[in-house]
């Protein structure tokens, strides 16, 4: 018999004559303590994210490219990885078009194998969208796509993320239900709640362990 058949046979034998435990999942318990008035959602999200070293900025759907331009200059970032075929990627490209002296915009337009070394060694920052955020835990929701692949939010040391204020949910349970996650998950879905960190040495917190050292969230208040 195969390992699978053996294991399943043993498990089945142990369960003979028993009934499955009933499903008494208590939705209230995972939602009620984690619900917020609409006006508080953003402030809670910002407070939690900033507590773990995330930078957050309030801006608008029209103004964020200019804000991002300023942040890139402040942080002296020479280039930015973007997804030009997304709406926000196109908006930023249009904002930068034809102007001199701005950081270079790079497109993630080839399979990673073709430019892995460059991605790791010469890509200081990136910009991605999000699928919203969770106020309860201060988390961004990311579902990488073909246009905006997985490594964009992981390898560059600075990650800028765009978040629409209208897409901040109360808690993880609510997001799963409202966005109907169980009906079809992407190859990779993520909750990101700050820049990479570790406390493995003497419990001293250090940021930038493997992933981004800086996470900057631009919150679009009118979107």
């Amino acid at each position: 018999m195969s390992a699978k058949a053996n294991i399943l046979a043993k498990l089945r034998k142990s369960l003979e004559g028993t009934a499955p435990v009933a499903d008494d999942y208590d939705v209230d318990l995972v939602t009620r303590p984690w619900s917020y008035p609409a006006a508080e959602r953003i402030s809670r999200l910002r407070q939690l994210m900033e507590a773990v070293h995330t930078e957050t900025h309030l801006t608008t759907a029209a103004d964020w490219p200019a804000l991002l331009e300023k942040l890139l200059a402040d942080k002296q970032l020479p280039s930015l990885l973007i997804a030009p075929s997304t709406a926000h990627g196109a908006q930023l490209a249009a904002h930068f078009a034809g102007r001199e002296g701005l950081p270079r915009l790079k497109a993630y337009d080839r399979p990673v194998e073709e430019w892995k070394a460059e991605l790791f060694d010469d890509t200081p920052a990136s910009l991605t969208g999000t699928l919203g955020a969770i106020a309860a835990t201060g988390s961004l929701i990311l579902w990488p796509t073909r246009e905006e692949p997985r490594l964009m939010s992981l390898v560059p040391p600075v990650h800028f993320a765009l978040l629409k204020a209208s897409e901040v949910y109360d808690n993880f349970h609510e997001v799963q239900q409202k966005q109907r996650w169980a009906a079809g998950m992407p190859t990779n879905a993520l909750l990101v709640s700050g820049p990479s960190k570790t406390a493995d040495i003497e419990q001293v917190l250090a940021y930038g362990a493997h992933g981004p050292k800086d996470l900057v969230v631009l919150i679009l208040e009118d979107a």
């Binding site: 390992a3 498990l11 790791f120 239900q177 190859t187 250090a206």
Partner: protein, 482 residues
Amino acid sequence: MNSQARIPAVELSSRDLKHNAHNALGDAQLRGNMRKAMDSLMAKRLASMPDEYEREHLREMGNHVRARALSRLPELLERLEANLTRNGVKVHWAETTEEANRIVLEIAERHQAKQVIKGKSMVSEEMEMNHFLERHGIEALESDMGEYIIQLDHEKPTHIIMPAIHKNARQVADLFHDRLGEPYTEDVDALIQTGRRVLRKKFLEADIGVSGVNFAVAETGTLLLVENEGNGRMSTTVPPVHIAVTGIEKVVENLRDVVPLLSLLTRSALGQGITTYVNMISGPRKADELDGPQEVHLVLLDNGRSQAFADGELRQTLNCIRCGACMNHCPVYTRIGGQAYGTVYPGPIGKIISPHLMGLENTPDHPSASSLCGACGEVCPVKIPIPSLLRRLREENVKAPDDPHKVMRGQGSKYSPRERLLWKGWRLLNRSPWLYRVFGFFATRLRGLTPSNLGPWTQNHSAPKPAARSLHELAREHLEGK
């Protein structure tokens, strides 16, 4: 031991728990490091769960979610496999660690892999995967900072969440200086940046990434991993092949089941409302995607778990979500550190799971290495009754070898005919009034002959001595005198 001395990096055997514990107790540096870390972890946990109603009801719910999954485990494993397969993930089954290692090796050989980079995975520790791969000419490097540190020092993890918690910054500074030739610094940020630099290069080069799994969701065919560092994401995203290894008990029924478990896990473990990354992997890179592994494999390992599963009471051991809270609160673990146990899983959870994984014959003293203070059971987020399971294992441990009720491997490893005889005599004595009286008479009259050395008992206590007259006799005299 002076405070500068390094903690011995040796292969400690699980059979020598008493001896190891004795040595560990003499290591002032270790005790200091552990005390400091555990105090802080306990405080953080409590601060993150201040509402007693929410905490206690959520623990109850966590217990129900896990119990429900186990009550239909075979069906859920099949559903998980079907959904993962539909998503393009290859699922493998292994009864033993040897089989699991073979599966990993076959995949590695098919890809002519030379370098494997590993995210944190306790199951891969169970498998001793690093050594196995290295024996076959494949470098296996740990990428979790704590795991990397102890791998550099040829040690085993001391804690399931914080593998290098027994070391302080000075010890890590020495290590990086000696092994990596880095300039000496005790600055934790600088030390982490050194680790980042070394490991980034490895992520780039590795042929295969290995990870564990925190929860495997049957409903959607999703492997969920939680971590703070990003090394787990790197290991599962950058190399062309990702192999996840997990125990068969990690499956949950639905995606929503993850919500209470995740909240319990991160708060119980580190006092964090959530970890930096919650990574949900449901398949390899699709044809039109630009990154992510081309192949994803899942190895489902039994390794003694189906044995624990067979007994309704011991099955509760498999509810564990590996948060480590029981260790952080255990007075024994805090004093001796994780390595003294000589097992992959130390502390209270180790004492109830290791006998199933390794047999009681290899963990004879583990069920007894507890004061039964109950702290582990009180903090366990999924309400595993650890103290009563320890008592149960103690019973299995002293069963006669010919006891027909065979529950687990190595059962009866502490069986002693002499002890059994003594208890039989004790029972007889207490059930027969005349024998009891005769015994009482001699015990009191010959009290001068009581030995003053009663082995371990008299190391810390004065030897018991019967009174000159038994209570029965005194009572009788008293009543007759009236």
